[in-house]
Symmetry: C2
């Protein structure tokens, strides 16, 4: 047993460093992406996973997937051995999985600050903020359309928040900019305001090409061809459909060796059946089809299996999150991706609530904790999500990043070093004593526990004197403080100029509305 003690001590020293880094967030500032020291939770049995995989292959072969308005995709699929009838692609059992063998099990995304590089896959977990909402809300100004200023604020908050490892993409739609040109300002804001990595959310192949071109201006063409510097988020139109715009964007990213996330949005009862096992077979079929296409375009192109899962209320048809079915699907997604050997994106801090109240927190926590335990690699929408994704919330953002920091401590595992075992402390204090003053507590005082930025632990009397605030009200102060603390990471003037010149040039060419292919 003493042997074991020593063994544990040695093998866990890396874990201790991770925990120290996680705990010492006040001094260390940003935290590195998570290298998990927890076992992954395998919620579904192997038998259940095999049934889902079998059904996904049945769907691919017998029902097929529509690749709409993109003859090039159909041509590629035909060449790869699929049975293409019109726009319906029937993929023989096992073909998509075989094609996917060339995809990397894990890959690095390079940020312009190398310390902010993130790894996708394996034992890595990366937290990324909300993406996509057209509205924003905060306690001062209420719910309103998002603007470029709001987007910039969310990028800054993500830059400052210790446990946000990756900036994500389009934290809020800048509705004050014409839709046809918006993607340029969005991409520029991410590249300019933070040195973390980021994501493009292309709506057309042209958007994707602009994102890749801007990345080349920032990183250099040769670097981009050899390194992943941007992820492209590719949504399918569930059930079992990809449209031409998304397909073009997918091909653009894959051809340039940039990462893609193939992610169906399946709400059980709407875009999928009312059962989790049925939805997962559909999700797996869709992602297999989309991910395999990236490998036909360029074998070895990095790709992430995504699932965005929830259910619709059978009463109102509205999306619901944090339900048991969604929890099961998050675990299932991570398990299926591991069996496929590709990184996984799922979960987040999803909720249906309109405000950052208890409903929002219950739903978000019941999404986030499963996400971490499942071993999801890229956690999009990890902070700021409200109202089923219609709204990015300032208060919700900082409440969520507080939870993310706690998840990062949890992921570091239990400290089994001598410090963690604390046997001397127990000896020193003895029966009936108190640990606050003992030597061990004093030595570990500052780094003992993560200090929540949001939670109030004061007495009822003190809390009453101080205005009986809710978590949401305290969060209102926190995001303002974080914005005030933001420091411009700077950008090489030549590159900045090149980016701005590209923007100006493209804005002359593009129309205000989104181009049709």
């Amino acid at each position: 047993m003493d042997q074991q003690h020593r063994g544990a001590h040695a093998s866990r020293s890396a874990g201790r460093d991770a925990r120290r880094a996680a705990r010492g967030n006040k001094r260390a500032g940003k935290l590195p992406y998570i290298t998990r020291r927890l076992p992954v939770v395998e919620l579904l049995s192997r038998e259940a996973l095999e049934i889902i995989e079998h059904n996904a292959e049945t769907i691919l072969e017998e029902i097929g997937v529509e690749f709409r308005r993109d003859p090039e995709s159909l041509r590629l699929w035909r060449g790869a051995g699929a049975d293409v009838r019109g726009e319906r692609v029937h993929i023989p059992r096992g073909l998509a999985r075989a094609l996917l063998r060339s995809a990397p099990r894990e890959f690095m995304l390079h940020a312009r600050n190398p310390e902010r590089n993130v790894r996708f896959g394996g034992d890595a977990t990366v937290f990324s903020p909300v993406g996509g909402p057209p509205f924003v809300t905060d306690l001062d100004r209420g719910r309103r359309y998002g603007t470029l200023e709001d987007l910039e604020n969310f990028i800054k908050l993500a830059h400052v928040a210790p446990a946000i490892h990756f900036s994500g993409g389009t934290a809020v739609e800048p509705m004050d900019i014409a839709p046809g040109k918006r993607h340029l300002d969005v991409m520029y804001a991410y590249f300019r305001l933070s040195d973390q990595g980021c994501e493009a959310t292309p709506e057309t192949p042209g958007h994707a090409a602009d994102a890749v071109r801007m990345a080349e201006l920032l990183f250099g063409e040769q670097f981009v061809d050899q390194h992943v510097v941007v992820l492209g988020n590719i949504n399918s139109n569930s059930p079992l459909t990809f449209d031409g715009r998304m397909l073009g964007a997918l091909r653009e990213f894959a051809a340039h060796n940039q990462g893609t996330i193939v992610v169906p949005a399946v709400l059980a009862g709407a875009m999928g059946p009312v059962t989790a096992a049925g939805c997962m077979a559909e999700v797996l079929a869709e992602t297999l089809a989309g991910m395999a296409l990236t490998q036909i375009v360029r074998p070895g192109a990095p790709v992430i299996m995504g699932s965005f899962v929830g259910a619709v209320s059978m009463r109102t048809g509205a999306p619901t999150f944090g339900t048991p079915e969604a929890t099961q699907m998050i675990f299932a997604t991570a398990q299926l991706a591991r069996r496929l050997g590709v990184p996984c994106r799922s979960g987040g801090s999803l909720c249906s609530s309109k405000v950052a109240d208890a409903q929002a927190a219950y739903e978000s926590a019941h999404t986030l904790l499963p996400t971490l335990l499942a071993g999801v690699n890229l956690v999009t929408h990890a902070a700021g999500w409200l109202e089923g994704g219609l709204v990015s919330g300032y208060e919700k953002f900082v409440m969520d990043v507080d939870q993310l920091a706690m998840m990062q401590v949890l992921a570091a595992g239990m400290d089994m070093s001598e410090r963690g075992q604390a046997l001397d402390a127990i000896r020193e204090v003895g029966p009936g004593g108190h640990f606050l003053g003992c030597a061990h507590t004093q030595a570990n005082f500052e780094t003992a526990f993560y200090q929540s930025t949001i939670a109030d632990y004061s007495s009822f009397e003190q809390w009453s004197t101080e205005g009986r605030t809710t978590a949401e009200q305290r969060a209102n102060q926190v995001w303002k403080k974080m914005l005030a603390e933001y420091e411009d990471p700077g950008l090489d003037p030549a590159r900045d100029e090149a980016l701005l010149a590209y923007l100006a040039q493209r804005k002359v060419v593009l129309t205000d509305s989104v181009e049709e292919e």
Copy 2:
């Protein structure tokens, strides 16, 4: 693979029934206790558990545990082979564990309605409400001392709530009754107002004797000697101390073959070291000592290993919950109990928040979900807990029981039957379709998903029209509705009379203040 399909279908039919029961809560009313169809999550490695176990035995042998003001306990320990020096009992390595071998791995607690019997241990999970707070709060009347009327209300709410399987004990202290006589009214309220099983929270051996005697009046002496009808909650005074009152109560329960829960309250940094591994060694040592004593008193007496875990804020010294350390300790407790072969009590819906806001929900969810995944058998404080256990909240109670019902669905596992696989639905709808109108959705419409009683899924516009309520405000309506729906389960008049006569007789004998031994 087809073979597997059929196998899965057959083996999961029981799971489907459980899921149906869980989903159909509106019609079925009360849910049976949970028989888990999820794997337990083993968060700690075997190596880590062995270190904790080794350290616990070191603590028992070298440091020892104080058994204060109870010569009978010291006599029993001496007889069992411990090294007793004054009130300090040094328990040789392995002795406590060996004594505990006679304890049952699982046992049944009999309620006066046999349909409400609950099983503790194995794959069973039982949800039980908050216990112990002196205060109550609701949105109408605010925070105030609890009364007998409040206690009765919480017993009624627990009786009505579908996913509360066991009434627990002293949901709120009736501060309007003299402390020396209070336990009689509390016990009577539980026995009279609900036909679910319940718990006694004795502060003295006399309280414990009264609880057992009242149970005998309700169930019959012979039945009580052969069956567990009440649990006694036995708190140690951490670190490593039991006081005479608790020890007397423990011996009383064990002697009568009633169940005990031996539960240290260890907040890391106060009653335990600032590390999770240190606290767990202490918790294990304390529970081993207390549980082993039950077996010395009466081999085979049912006993549950409890842990109530949290941490103190290093800034204010106040208790904190829902933190990563607490989450780890819940998983560890369940794992250690499984290795010991005794049922386990831990977790709940713990929080520090003064109100049922997002802080309360985040903290509660990060306690509850680990509790379920860890495979905890008895979940005390699963509903209504606020402010570190000082307050029982009416709104919090109904918000929590909504979450408990979802946990019950989660515990039923993923439906892998043909219905769950839903391949026909995917065929019927095909690429680009919608599932709402398909035959499979129509057939499973009513039982598809659990319907939250608290969450609001309406549009922003509708929600605005309806007063922009928070979850807490909606919960205020729900508990009133639940109280209105309460139906008296009735009680055999002869037994009721006997209980009331006992109460009257004891109240003449007892003084207003709690008896000293």
